[in-house]
Every structure is written in structure tokens, then in C-alpha cells.
């Protein structure tokens, strides 16, 4: 195997670099003349810059619903590598502030980068030590600017983020996708969940008469039901997920949990299984 990561995906040229010494870092200024002539090797580091054109390790849906006094969010613990269930204990709900939780679907490395960005911002605020900090809407705006600027550079962060929180007595639930599209709604579901779970969430909100008529316990039940549907039908999901609750009291992110499922009926369906 070729152990130079920078060579991966690039065609090898025997004429130019017969001993495979190039590219190695710190070649600025002494790139062999012939190398610069290879198409795409115009960059000073000797490599073409690459942009994310597809996600690699991915997380599936994130769900969020408002209830009386707060917001409840759910995401499973799986990070897939294509169809491979690669990492099975990844946390995709992250507390970013006292009253704010970030949930991420899409590329996991991009998510971890964004998490780092926001955490850095929060540390900056904390160090100012002047009684001010970023509230949920402020973090949302910041996240939106980050996502929009990256898409404008044609180098997007391949995620859909969900931000849940409570600010000045009001619950906040918003999403931002890789093109920087922001929207807020009483219920949000990303990825496959936008097809499978969102209709369930919206129906619950509608039949119960809005977020103010949903209790914390009911919100948990609704999300568990939605996660079960996703586990049944979304092949990139896993029956191990976490719930995040954000209220005026603060944030609680649960331990991973699962729901009871029933597969026996599958045996009787023709063309399914054996």
C-alpha cells in the first residue's frame, strides 16, 4: 500500500517522481519544474485543493419538537461509512451552551469541526467574563453565517444542523442545511426523517393543538415513536439513540436508549426475508 496520504486518489507519474518522494510537505519553492506542469498541480503546496463533494462518514436523521416549556431532540448513535454501520457509539447531540443543544446529520467530520468552532466561540464568551454570553438565537445566526459562507466558497460543510434551545422564556427550534438555508418550525426532522418522521411530528402537533398542549412526557413518547419508525424503514439508522431536553432549567442529554420492536410479522410477508 502507498502510505503517503497525499498520493491517495492521485495518478502516479513515474517520469516525474520515480522514487515517490514527492509530494512530501514543505516543498514550497522547490517544486520540480516538471511537476508544476501536471494539470491541477498549480497550488503552492504542490496539490490541488479539494472541496467536499460528498459526505464520507455520515449520521442519519435528527428530530426535534417543541413542547410546553422547552424543546426535545433525538438522534441515534450511528455513524455510517456508506452502507457500513461503522461507528456505533457516536453522540450527535451536543450541548453548546447552558440552554442550547446542537444536533447534526450528515458528514461527521464536518460536524466535529463545527462543534469545535462553536465551542471556541463559547470559550471566548466565557473568558470575557462580563455577564454576556451567546444565547440560542445568537448561536443560530453564527452557525448560519458559517454554513452560508462555506457554501458561497463552493466548499460546503456537508450537514444539516438542528439547533434547539430556550431563550427569554421561549423555546427555539431551527435547522440549517449545507446551502445555508435557515428555517425555524415547531417540529423539525432532517434527512430521511423529513419524509418519515416529520409527518408524524406535524400530525401530533396538529391533533394536540400546538406545542403548548404537549407535555415533556408526551414529547418523549412522540420522539420514541418516530425513532421506531425510522429504525424500521431507514437502513442507515440504529436502535440506539439519545434524547436531549432543553427547558428553562437547562439541558439534559439522556443515556443511549432503544425502543421495543417487533419483527415477527416479517416472516409472513412474501418476498421479505427467507
Amino acid at each position: 500500500m502507498d502510505h503517503f496520504p497525499t498520493n491517495w486518489g492521485n495518478p502516479r507519474s513515474e517520469d516525474v517522481d520515480s522514487y515517490n518522494t514527492y509530494p512530501i510537505s514543505s516543498h514550497i519553492g522547490k517544486v520540480p519544474h516538471s511537476v508544476t506542469q501536471i494539470a491541477g498541480y498549480g497550488h503552492t503546496t504542490g496539490h490541488p485543493t479539494s472541496h467536499t463533494l460528498q459526505p464520507v462518514v455520515t449520521g442519519t436523521s435528527v428530530l426535534g419538537i417543541k413542547f410546553k416549556g422547552g424543546v426535545m431532540m433525538a438522534a441515534d448513535n450511528l455513524a455510517s461509512y456508506g452502507s457500513l454501520a461503522r461507528f456505533r457509539d457516536v453522540e450527535r447531540l451536543h450541548q453548546v451552551a447552558d440552554f442550547t443543544v446542537l444536533g447534526a446529520s450528515g458528514d461527521i467530520s464536518d460536524y466535529q469541526y463545527v462543534k469545535h468552532l462553536i465551542d471556541s466561540q463559547m470559550i471566548k464568551e466565557y473568558n470575557a467574563d462580563d455577564g454576556h454570553t451567546l444565547a440560542t438565537p445568537n448561536i443560530y445566526e453564527y452557525l448560519w453565517r458559517v454554513m452560508y459562507n462555506r457554501r458561497s466558497k463552493m466548499n460546503p460543510l456537508w450537514n444539516t444542523f438542528v439547533l434547539g434551545g430556550v431563550h427569554q422564556g421561549k423555546s427555539f427550534l431551527g435547522a440549517i442545511d449545507l446551502k445555508g438555508t435557515p428555517y425555524q418550525a415547531p417540529s423539525i426532522a432532517t434527512g430521511f426523517g423529513s419524509h418519515l418522521a416529520q409527518p408524524i411530528l406535524r400530525k401530533e402537533l396538529e391533533t394536540r393543538g400546538g406545542e403548548d398542549n404537549i407535555t415533556e412526557e408526551q414529547a418523549v413518547e412522540i420522539l420514541k415513536k418516530s425513532m421506531k419508525v425510522l429504525w424500521y424503514r431507514d437502513a442507515r439508522s440504529m436502535n440506539k439513540f439519545q434524547l436531549a431536553k432543553i427547558t428553562a432549567e437547562g439541558v439534559t442529554i439522556s443515556e443511549p436508549m432503544s425502543v421495543e420492536t417487533e419483527w415477527a410479522f416479517a416472516e409472513k410477508i412474501r418476498g421479505y426475508g427467507a
Binding site: 472541496h51 463533494l53 448560519w144 452560508y148 457554501r151 458561497s152 463552493m154 466548499n155 460546503p156 435547522a175 442545511d177 446551502k179 445555508g180 438555508t181 435557515p182 428555517y183 425555524q184 418550525a185 423529513s194 419524509h195 416529520q198
Partner: protein
């Protein structure tokens, strides 16, 4: 592509389309907006649905923003671009306020918006803008734009996903096209009725229009906002 033996069906289109390995930074979030200028008032209206493909992201994402007591902007297209552009306009208006000690007039905002759009001529904001307000004489003014900044002042305009449904109706009902004999200026109530009818009708046929209708009425005394239900299917 070609038949290799007699009787084989000729396929005149490629069996598999090439995959584009390029990021498309734009998305059409749908939605319809409209503005009608009256003698001493202006109406700016837009639905509040935000869509992405066949999915509804949210039923309430306002498309119109009050810029001053005399000016309201409404935008449809790529929502991220629209929101960014709105912020830029607001900041420029703030600088104008600082520099000149007065609020920017509708005509000045109109000219500035054209320049802002054209400045991004080769990576445009994907946004259909309609600027509604009162001019220096207190008369209703509507300015309409294409995404790269061409603009003109009109009496009425509809833009966005249901514009092809509503605009012909407005041509007939507001500008009295093909009914020259009935030409007259409309009252605020008439304009509001036509606006509401336009949106309830468009909601029937356009899947990207619906949920709520938000109407801004700009008069000498300021800006009033009404929110009206549309069908949510």
C-alpha cells in the same frame, strides 16, 4: 444509441445520465410575493411557506421585511441568499443613516438594491426582489428586480413560484389590460381583496405557495402587518 440488428428499438437518449460532480450552491425555496402601488398607499404581500423539493421546511418563514416606515422589501428564490441580501440592505441603510442623519428614501433603497445585486453579477444572489413603499411625494411605489439587478418602477408586480398564475390576473384587474373603458385607480380595500384572492387562488394550484399570507400595508402613518390563513396542503 444505434440499432445493431434489425428490429431493435432505437434509443435516442443516453441510458445513463452523466453525474455532475459539482456542488450546486443554489436551492429554490419557492414562495410567491406581490406588491401593488396605490395613490397614497402600497401593499406588499407574500406567503410564508418555505419548501425544498417536495418537502415543506416550515410553514412560517416570513419573506418580507420592513426596512423603514416607508419601505418594505420582499424576496423569493434561494432563501439563504435572500436573507443575506436583506441583512446587507439593512446595514447599508444604517450607514446611510449615520452619514446623512436621515432615513433612506424608497427611491434611494431601490437604486442601491440594484447595485447590490449587480455587484454579484457573476455569482448572483438567487433572489426575486420586490420593493414596495411610498415615494418622496407620498405616492405608492413598486420596484421590481431580476436576480442580477435590472429594475424598473411599476404599479404592480408578482414574483416567485406562482408569479405566472397571478401576474396575468393583476394585469387585468389592476392595470385593466383589455378593459380600457374601466380604467381607474383602486382603493386600498379593493387592492387588499385582489391580493387575498390572488393568493388563495395560487395556493390551489402551486404546491410551493400556501400556509399563511403576510400582508404589509404601507401608508403615511406607517406600516401595518396582517397575517391570514392559506391552505396548508
Amino acid at each position: 444509441m444505434f440499432s445493431t440488428y434489425p428490429g431493435q428499438a432505437v434509443i435516442d437518449h443516453p441510458v445513463s445520465a452523466p453525474i455532475e460532480h459539482r456542488f450546486d450552491p443554489y436551492v429554490d425555496n419557492g414562495g410567491t410575493l406581490l406588491s401593488i402601488a396605490g395613490n397614497d398607499f402600497c401593499v406588499v404581500a407574500a406567503d410564508t411557506r418555505q419548501s425544498e423539493g417536495y418537502s415543506i421546511n416550515s410553514r412560517y418563514v416570513p419573506k418580507s421585511v420592513k426596512l423603514s416606515d416607508k419601505t418594505v422589501i420582499s424576496m423569493g428564490g434561494c432563501y439563504a441568499d435572500c436573507l443575506t441580501l436583506t441583512k446587507r440592505i439593512q446595514q447599508s441603510m444604517e450607514w446611510y443613516h449615520h452619514a446623512h442623519g436621515k432615513v433612506m428614501s424608497t427611491a434611494a433603497v431601490a437604486q442601491m438594491l440594484s447595485i447590490m445585486l449587480y455587484q454579484k453579477r457573476f455569482f448572483p444572489f438567487y433572489s426575486w426582489c420586490i420593493l414596495g413603499g411610498l415615494d418622496e411625494e407620498g405616492k405608492g411605489a413598486v420596484y421590481t428586480y431580476d436576480p442580477v439587478g435590472s429594475y424598473e418602477r411599476e404599479t404592480c408586480r408578482c414574483a416567485g413560484s406562482a408569479s405566472s398564475l397571478i401576474q396575468p390576473f393583476l394585469d387585468n384587474q389592476i392595470n385593466f389590460k383589455n378593459q380600457e373603458s374601466r380604467q381607474r385607480t383602486l382603493t386600498k380595500d379593493e387592492v387588499l381583496r385582489i391580493t387575498k384572492d390572488s393568493f388563495t387562488s395560487a395556493t390551489e394550484r402551486d404546491i410551493y405557495t400556501g400556509d399563511y399570507l403576510e400582508i404589509f400595508v404601507i401608508t403615511n402613518t406607517g406600516v401595518e402587518v396582517q397575517k391570514i390563513d392559506l391552505k396548508k396542503d
